[in-house]
Symmetry: C2
Subunit: 119 residues, 2 copies
């Protein structure tokens, strides 16, 4: 993933309603949900929802297809995973065991919690 794509995806997710929408789709799975269902679930005005869907779609985070009168939106997991990968790329100079939990590292080294500096 390139930087401009990552920024676009992060910007798309950096908004209350949009984050709700995206997570709902992520949790819904590959088959997606009709726009109306999302609008009802999150209590969003239909035009506002379209605005947010456009941004998510522009960032490559969701896909759309038409089904009769309904538009079905679905999360694009390929983009999600590319984004997560971009953020953690080469972390800790490649010694990922220092910062990522065991589940995210390729190997499974013992994860030692270190003390954080003052915020």
């Amino acid at each position: 993933m390139e930087k401009s794509n990552a920024v676009a995806a992060l910007a798309a997710l950096a908004q209350d309603k949009r984050l709700d929408v995206y997570r709902l789709l992520v949790q819904a799975g590959p088959d997606g949900l009709p726009a109306g269902h999302v609008a009802a679930a999150l209590k969003l005005a239909p035009n506002t929802l379209t605005f947010h869907f456009d941004r998510l779609r522009g960032a490559g985070l969701v896909s759309v297809r038409r089904d009769g009168r309904s538009m079905i939106y679905a999360a694009r997991y390929d983009t999600m995973n590319a984004l997560l990968g971009y953020l953690t790329e080469n972390c800790c100079q490649g010694r990922a065991g220092r910062c990522l939990p065991a589940a995210r590292t390729k190997r499974t080294p013992a994860t030692a919690r270190r003390k954080e500096p003052v915020t």
Copy 2:
């Protein structure tokens, strides 16, 4: 992680220069880097860099400590991992194998959330 924290973190990362700064710190590791080093590496004006550091810090993504005349900034991996976990929480109705690569499928379960203080 709560939604407002996630939005704050995503907004902090959704900017060209800031994403560069953050990734540099993530790659640098737990010991962090002096502000001046970051400014030189990314060719940023010192006041602009302070502005961006403030946003990253406000979102809990980085920590600071003073070392003589230098301010040492470091990535907060706990927040990074909480954010990644938040995005993928309950994905595909819990059947994560459908959307996440093998290395990420052992994510922290959603049931393990705890309440955190507002910064």
